[in-house]
C-alpha cells in the first residue's frame, strides 16, 4: 500500500468550550478527490485551517506523504506542495488576473529578495502563469484587473492561484460558494480535469458537485468523522441520513 497523501491522526481543536475537531482520524489517499461534508459548524473550515497550517491543533498529528508537518508554518507547508483555496474569495483585486497567478508562481520560484528587475516583465513568471490561465479558461481575461472579473471567474482564479504553486495536494474550501448553476457546472469540469494529477480535499455544500466529483466522502458532525466511504456508501449510510442528510431530497442525490 502506498503512503497516503495526508494522514490525520487524533486531531483535536477546541475553541474554549467548543470542540471544532474531535479526535479526527483520516487518510487522504494520493490522487483521490476526497470530499468533506457536514452541516454548518461541523468544523470543516477549521480542519482545512489545520491542514494548511493556519491553525495549530491542540492534539494530534498531520503527516504529508509520510512526513510530520504538524509543526510547520503555512509557507513551509506550501513549499512542500500543499495548496489551499479560500471560502471567501482571496484574490488581489488591484492586480491583473495574470499578475495574480504570476505572484503564485513567484511564491515557488526561489526567494523574492529581488529588488530591481520588474516582475511584470519576467517571462519565467508570466509564461507559466499564462499557461495555467489558458488551462483554466481565463486567458482572455489575463490583462483585466482581477476586481473586474465576475464572481465565477474570481473563483476560477482562486483555483488557478492554488495550482500555480505546483501542489501535490489541493485543499479547496467551498470552491462553488455563491456560484450559479452554469458556473458550478464549469467548476465541476475544471476540478474533474485536475483528477489524477492532484490529490484534492474538497469542502463543498453543493451536493450535486460533491457526489459527481468525489472518490470518497467523509461526513463531519461536531468535529467528528461519522462516516467515510464511497459516494454510494455514504448515500446508503443510515447514520449519515439521520445526522446530516436528513429526510429531505438530499438522499436522492443525482448521479452526474
Amino acid at each position: 500500500m502506498t503512503e497516503p497523501a495526508l494522514k490525520i491522526e487524533g486531531l483535536v481543536k477546541n475553541f474554549g468550550s467548543l470542540v471544532a475537531t474531535d479526535d479526527l482520524h483520516l487518510d487522504i489517499e494520493a490522487g483521490e478527490i476526497h470530499a468533506v461534508i457536514g452541516p454548518n459548524g461541523a468544523g470543516k473550515t477549521t480542519l482545512i485551517a489545520q491542514l494548511s497550517g493556519e491553525l495549530r491543533p491542540d492534539q494530534g498529528r498531520i503527516q504529508f506523504a509520510g512526513r510530520d508537518i504538524t509543526g510547520l508554518s503555512m509557507p513551509a507547508r506550501s513549499a512542500l506542495g500543499l495548496a489551499r483555496s479560500f471560502q471567501i474569495t482571496s484574490i488581489f483585486p488591484d492586480f491583473s488576473t495574470l499578475d495574480n497567478v504570476a505572484l503564485a508562481v513567484q511564491a515557488h520560484a526561489g526567494h523574492s529578495f529581488r529588488f530591481w528587475q520588474p516582475a511584470g516583465k519576467d517571462q519565467s513568471l508570466r509564461r507559466p502563469a499564462l499557461d495555467i490561465l489558458e488551462n483554466i479558461g481565463l486567458a482572455a481575461r489575463a490583462a483585466e484587473p482581477a476586481a473586474n472579473l465576475s464572481h465565477g471567474e474570481q473563483r476560477q482564479l482562486e483555483i488557478a492561484m492554488a495550482l500555480a504553486t505546483e501542489p501535490s495536494v489541493l485543499l479547496l474550501d467551498e470552491p462553488m460558494a455563491g456560484m450559479g448553476r452554469d458556473e458550478s457546472g464549469r467548476m465541476v469540469e475544471l476540478l474533474r480535469g485536475l483528477k489524477g494529477g492532484h490529490t484534492i480535499v474538497l469542502i463543498e455544500h453543493d451536493m450535486d458537485a460533491v457526489f459527481a466529483l468525489a472518490d470518497r466522502i467523509t461526513v463531519l458532525v461536531y468535529g467528528r468523522a461519522i462516516a467515510t466511504g464511497t459516494p454510494e456508501d455514504i448515500r446508503a449510510n443510515d447514520e449519515v441520513r439521520a445526522a446530516y442528510l436528513g429526510t429531505e431530497a438530499a438522499i436522492e442525490v443525482p448521479h452526474a
Partner: protein, 329 residues
C-alpha cells in the same frame, strides 16, 4: 506602472531642478533653502510611503530614523569627524540597524498594536536623546556640514540643493524599480491579503521586515541631510508629532504613489510657512493660531480627500486618478 505617474514624477523633478537658477535670477536665495528643506522631508515621506502606502504598515515612529541619521552626523561632527564619506554610511548603517531591530519587534504584531509600538519605540529614542547630556540633551547641539573631500561643498547653497535633489531623484527611481520588482509585488500583495500570501508560500514577515528596514535606512539618509541643512541636531527631530507630520505628507500627497508624498511634503511645508501669513492678513495676531485651521484641514483630507494631491493631478491629466497599485500591462 501608470504613465501619468511617471510624467507627473518627471515634471515635479523638473520643477525642482529649475528652482536654483530662478532664485538666482530673481535674487531670492531664501527660496532655495526652503525648497531644499522640502526635498529633505520629501525623501523621508517617500521612504514612509514604501511601507505605509505600498506595504500597508502604519508606522507611527518614522521620524525616529531621521533622528538617527541626524545624530549619526551630529555625533561624528562633535568628535571632529566631518568627512561625509564616513558620516553618510554610518547614518545609513545606524538607521538600518535600528530599523531592523524595531521592525523585528513591531512586525510581530499588527493593527492598533503596530501603530502604538512603533510610536513607543520612537518615543524611547527621543527620551534617550534628551538624556544624553554629552550631546546637548534637550537643547541639541550644533553640527558642522559634512565634507566631501572637496568634491562638493555643502556650504555652497547651490551644491547643497543639488545634492539633496540628486538623492531625492535617486531614491524615487530606486523605489520605483523596487515597487515593481518581485520584492515589491510581495510587499504590495501582503498589504491586501497577508493570509493568502502565506498560504501561497510567502514567509511574509521577512519581506515586510526587509521593507521596514529599507524605509528606515532611506529616512536615515534624509536625517543626515537634515542635520546638514540645519547645522544643528536636537531630539526635536524625533518628536512624535514629526512622525505624524511625515505621515500627513504621505496621505496629503497620495499614498502608494511615491511621487505623491513629494507633492504632499511640498504642500504641507508650504502650508506651514504661508498659512500663518495668510491668517495674519485676514486678522491681526491670528497667524500664531494657524493650527486651528491646520487641524480641521487634516481631518477634511482624511475624511474626503481620497488619493490626495496625486489623484487630483492625475485626474486632471487624463482619466480618473489611480491609486498607484494598479498597473497597466
Amino acid at each position: 506602472m501608470d504613465r501619468r505617474q511617471i510624467w507627473l514624477s518627471l515634471a515635479t523633478l523638473a520643477l525642482f531642478a529649475v528652482v536654483p537658477p530662478l532664485t538666482v535670477i530673481f535674487d531670492q536665495p531664501f527660496y532655495m533653502d526652503m525648497v531644499a528643506r522640502i526635498m529633505v522631508f520629501a525623501i523621508a515621506a517617500v521612504s514612509l510611503d514604501l511601507i505605509l502606502g505600498h506595504g500597508g504598515m502604519v508606522s507611527f515612529g518614522h521620524a525616529v530614523y531621521m533622528g538617527i541619521g541626524a545624530y549619526a552626523v551630529g555625533i561624528l561632527s562633535y568628535y571632529g569627524i566631518d568627512n561625509g564619506f564616513l558620516q553618510i554610511p554610518l547614518a545609513l548603517a545606524a538607521s538600518a540597524l535600528i530599523g531592523l531591530i524595531f521592525g523585528a519587534m513591531s512586525l510581530r504584531t499588527s493593527g492598533v498594536y503596530f501603530i502604538m509600538i512603533t510610536l513607543a519605540f520612537a518615543q524611547m529614542l527621543y527620551f534617550l536623546a534628551i538624556s544624553l547630556e554629552e550631546f546637548g540633551g534637550d537643547d541639541g547641539m550644533s553640527s558642522m556640514r559634512s565634507e566631501f573631500a572637496g568634491l562638493i561643498d555643502l556650504n555652497d547653497a547651490m551644491h547643497f540643493y543639488y545634492l539633496v535633489f540628486a538623492v531625492l531623484a535617486g531614491v524615487l527611481f530606486c523605489l520605483h524599480r523596487l515597487v515593481l520588482s518581485r520584492f515589491g509585488m510581495v510587499i504590495r500583495a501582503s498589504r491586501t491579503n497577508e493570509r493568502r500570501m502565506q498560504a501561497m508560500g510567502f514567509p511574509t514577515y521577512r519581506y515586510k521586515l526587509a521593507a521596514f528596514t529599507i524605509a528606515g535606512t532611506i529616512c536615515g539618509l534624509a536625517g543626515a541631510l537634515f542635520a546638514n541643512l540645519n547645522e544643528f541636531v536636537s531630539p526635536d527631530v524625533m518628536h512624535w508629532t514629526h512622525s505624524g507630520e511625515i505621515m500627513i505628507m504621505v496621505i496629503m500627497g497620495g499614498m502608494g504613489t511615491l511621487i505623491g508624498p513629494v507633492l504632499g511634503a511640498t504642500a504641507f511645508l508650504l502650508l506651514e510657512e504661508y498659512l500663518p501669513q495668510w491668517m495674519e492678513m485676514a486678522m491681526t495676531d491670528a497667524g500664531e493660531h494657524w493650527a486651528i485651521i491646520m487641524g480641521p484641514i487634516l481631518i477634511a483630507i482624511v475624511l474626503f480627500g481620497r488619493g490626495g494631491i496625486h489623484a487630483l493631478l492625475a485626474a486632471s491629466l487624463g482619466r480618473n486618478g489611480n491609486n498607484g497599485s494598479k498597473r497597466d500591462d
